[in-house]
């Protein structure tokens, strides 16, 4: 353990600079201790978090002449509470009251490019950058005060937006700031506050965005109203490869309120003055369009067979052969999951306005910079002439229709200069055209020795890429459909340690001999991209189901079996905590349809640790599973907002239960057929667990670990394990719907 962190540091010691906490947050697991070493050696060139993307402190933090602080982040609020968390971070390190800080989120004209708000990176990257920037700004302000008061800096401290010294000396930040005071380069090392003195970090501060959302104040891009704004709708083709054959728009142009019909190749849209007029015109336009379709989708009943038959690019991502015991028993299993929809409750929306040669787009994309780049390329505009500003949408859970809606709006606004256009997708369009989480297959094989320990392990996962995000213009539907179309970009695997389809394919368990192969599938008959946790949910579902099957074969308790293969102490703590909270060891034998399941994973083997224990009841007559009791334990490093962590884990578990109990995208050989909630049913209140508790293991002073996706995999696997425990039969194919479970338990 790093000795620096465990030493009790007094506040005065910190300020005197004698006990500087050295923390540098980056992605690699042992980087923080490396940075500590680097610092000791006289400074590492690597700046913490995203500071490297723009090292000028005033790109991150500004203090105005009234002492109000503005922080800038390239990340965005998705409903995960990041705005509030980042405000907490800044308010804490900068020593200003929480309500004196405001936050500007991703805007290509105002904020740093931090890529996508994805991958549970926001607190790790932006949070770390802002924490260090705020700390350094604080020190600069203290130093300025010291200069003015002609006093050594160690006699001064910052509090509530001012620098305080002896004899009631006090200078407010407002008085201290001057132009360019903060226009300095960030340092690799910051004086960070000791968690023992946190006033607002690691506290359940209420989210700043909730009051507006429950009182009808404008909060979403869907709520935007610009003067003279027009309403637009696109008409999408009936299937991926459909070509528009004939279209007579004359009747539609004559409809009341219609301003323009736009046709560019297979891209169709209509604009009207009033929203309902645009909907009626869209329906008429849809009826008037005649398409030629192609049957290019796989046979749905043989999807996984089809995937296994596709050409692959194989990569062995783990290959170790340490001496191990003699194999006494070998098990093999194949697991599958279907395509899963993001299913955002609010269909995607964007507002675009082309004026004075600049295209401004308000969008709920997770990545304003990449989306801007793609749209600029699509429209043939220089990037500087396109501005993307993030405004919240409904939860996206990854790459949904947001980027495409932004592109659609831009194409339409491009045809109507100086007129703001609001483009709203319909429910069927969001369901039918969003890029899904890929369908996947995993095969596991392992052997146990006579003592019930795993001696060898072989795991392979078949999957498409899990990201077709912009980037290139061809990732956008509008660009694919327009006359001068852009080709769909070449899919690439996301490399380890993050991974895409192979995310979490390497178990955290100690396995003497293990081989893990990622079978990358280039062919994408169905449109796919990033869905919360990427390949993580499937791989954890498969690995944790398989661990349970091995535990059963070894005659071991599932929790004890995991602990006997788990060396990471934080992982062990999380497993023990979930089991303890659940009263795992006191659980009765399965009876009357009741069953108990457990699962654990560390997201990406880099981010938060999460273990889930679950009690279910399977109705023998219908095969329907009711989730009764769920307990989760999570270790997310230094916590910024414990309530936010809890909210994210609860949400991940419930969403994962919905995926795992009910969901699969349906299609025939030509079209996607799950186009609304009737055809793609999800969890409703009738299936919500009776109780769900989340225990947070607090690790103050340790690096931030992202927790937004940590619950998906363990929840899926805990469910599968509980159902197996309840019924004595193992279902290895998601979803574990009533029909499937009934079929396997029989009469």
């Amino acid at each position: 353990m790093n000795k620096v962190l465990s030493r009790r540091i007094s506040r005065r010691a910190v300020l005197r600079g004698t006990g500087a906490l050295v923390l540098s947050f980056s992605l690699a697991p042992r980087a923080w201790s490396q940075a500590a070493e680097g610092a000791a050696a006289g400074g590492s060139s690597k700046l913490p978090g995203s500071l490297g993307k723009n090292p000028s402190l005033d790109a991150w933090i500004r203090v105005d002449a009234n002492g109000r602080v503005t922080a800038f982040t390239g990340k965005v609020e998705l409903g995960q509470g990041i705005k509030t968390a980042l405000l907490q971070v800044v308010a804490e390190e900068l020593e200003v009251p929480f309500d004196q800080v405001s936050l500007v989120t991703a805007d290509t004209s105002r904020t740093i490019d931090e890529g996508y708000t994805a991958g549970s990176h926001s607190v790790q990257d932006s949070g770390t950058a802002l924490r260090n920037a705020a700390a350094q700004v604080r020190e600069i302000l203290i130093a300025e005060a010291a200069r003015r008061l002609k006093m050594p800096g160690d006699k001064l401290h910052a509090d509530a937006g001012a620098v305080i010294g002896p004899n009631e000396a006090r200078i407010t930040y407002a008085e201290l700031v001057s132009t360019n005071l903060l226009h300095v380069e960030a340092q690799p090392v910051s004086r960070l506050k000791d968690p023992g003195f946190f006033k607002v970090m690691d506290k359940p501060v209420q989210r700043v965005d909730i009051p507006a959302k429950v009182t009808g104040a404008a909060a979403y891009v869907q709520d935007m109203r610009l003067p003279g704004m027009l309403h637009a709708r696109v008409v999408r083709p009936p299937s991926y490869r459909a070509k528009l054959l004939q279209l007579d728009v004359s009747n539609i142009e004559k409809m009341t309120g219609v301003v323009q019909v736009i046709r560019d190749g297979n891209f169709l849209a209509v604009v009207a003055y009033r929203e309902f007029q645009s909907i009626k015109a869209m329906q008429a336009l849809s009826r008037a369009a005649k398409w030629q379709e192609q049957a290019a989708l796989p046979q749905p009943a043989r999807l996984h067979e089809y995937l296994l038959g596709l050409p692959t690019q194989d990569q062995v991502i783990l290959d170790k052969h340490d001496p191990a015991g003699q194999a006494a028993k070998t098990l093999e299993a194949t697991y599958t999951r279907p395509y899963i929809s993001h299913g955002s409750v609010g269909p995607s929306c964007a507002v675009a306005h082309l004026t004075e040669g600049v295209m401004t787009i308000w969008t709920h994309t997770q990545g304003v910079y990449p989306d801007r780049q793609a749209i600029a390329e699509m429209l043939g505009l220089p990037k500087e002439k396109v501005r993307c500003i993030h405004v919240e949408g409904s939860g996206c859970y990854g790459h949904n229709g947001a980027d495409d809606a932004a592109a659609d709006a831009a194409v339409i606004a491009n045809a109507l200069p100086d007129r703001p256009v609001r483009l709203q997708w319909m429910r069927e369009q969001e369901h039918g055209w969003e890029p899904y989480g890929p369908a996947m297959v995993a095969k596991a094989r392992a052997s146990l020795d006579s003592a019930g320990r795993i001696v060898d392990w072989d795991y392979g996962v078949w999957s498409n890429t899990h990201s077709m995000r912009p980037g290139p213009a061809g990732s956008l539907l509008a660009a694919q459909h327009m006359e001068k179309s852009f080709p769909v970009p070449e899919p690439r695997p996301i490399p380890q340690p993050e991974g895409g389809g192979d995310r979490n394919a390497i178990p955290l368990y100690t396995l003497p001999s293990a081989r893990v192969t990622s079978h990358f599938l280039r062919d994408m008959p169905v449109r796919i991209s990033a869905l919360r946790s990427l390949g993580g949910q499937m791989n954890v579902f498969a690995i944790e189901s398989f661990m349970d099957e091995l535990a059963l074969a070894a005659g071991s308790d599932p929790v004890a079996f995991r602990l006997s293969h788990l060396d990471d102490p934080r992982a062990r703590d999380v497993v023990a905590a979930a089991a303890d909270e659940f009263h795992w060891s006191a659980r009765p034998a399965p009876a009357g349809g009741h069953g108990y399941g457990f699962a654990f994973a560390r997201y990406k083997n880099l981010a938060a640790y999460c273990a889930v224990a679950m009690q279910v009841r399977v109705d023998h007559e219908t095969g329907r599973t009711r989730v009764l009791r769920v307990t989760a334990a999570v270790d997310t490093g230094q916590v910024i907002n414990p309530d936010g962590v809890r909210n994210q884990i609860e949400g991940a578990i419930l969403q994962s239960l919905s995926w795992s109990l009910f969901e699969s995208v349906s299609f025939d050989t030509t079209r996607i057929t799950s186009v609304d909630w009737a055809t793609y049913p999800i969890l409703r209140f009738g299936s919500v667990p009776e109780t769900l508790t989340v225990r947070i293991i607090d690790r103050p002073g340790t690096p931030f670990l992202g927790c937004g996706e940590a619950g998906q995999g363990p929840a899926s696997a805990a469910l599968a394990n509980a159902v197996a425990n309840a019924t004595g039969k193992r279902v290895r194919d998601l979803p574990l719907n009533a029909v499937r479970v009934k079929a396997i338990i029989g009469v």
């Binding site: 465990s6 501060v205 909730i210 429950v214 869907q222 269909p347 703590d573 609304d676 009738g686 947070i696």
Partner: protein, 197 residues
Amino acid sequence: MIELKVNGKSHNLSADPDTPLLYVLRNDLQLNAAKFGCGLGQCGSCTVLVDGAPTLSCVTPIMLLEGRQITTVEGLGTPEDPGPMQRAFIEEQSAQCGYCIPGMMMRAQALLQRNPRATDAEIRAFLEPNLCRCGTHMRILRAVKRAASLMAGPGSTPSTQTPSAASTQIDASDADSDAQLDRRRPVHSEKRERPER
């Protein structure tokens, strides 16, 4: 022209009679709370009250609503003076993306207006038509229970200490206002573990 009574005020609207109420609320009256989720009556994001009954505004044409009392979330209170349902959702921090929440609130409002002592089972059953994709269900249920006790008035038992909320001791006081924050030392409950290192 069609006259509609929304949140106690009368409005004369020039929208076509076949326009679903949702678009009139949002575009003609600039009321943001009711949301477009599907336009098909499947998700409940557009729920408002019509004469106290929960109604899907996306499939309700305004021509049917003359003379009826329409209530939206904006009619339950303001940001400066939130009503009990709104306070409950704020205090329970009952939202992730928040998009489904106004529909949930109106649906719950209808329930509590007619059945102020609705049980947990009744609340769950009543909210069935409303979808939440973020998985905020547990908090929504707690918020509705809390709203019921706020509506019942002072002296009623606060409903935050429901068994499902008691994950850690932090939870109960977590929902209280930020006023607590500055005075709070980082006293972690026994369930927030800080292992020896």
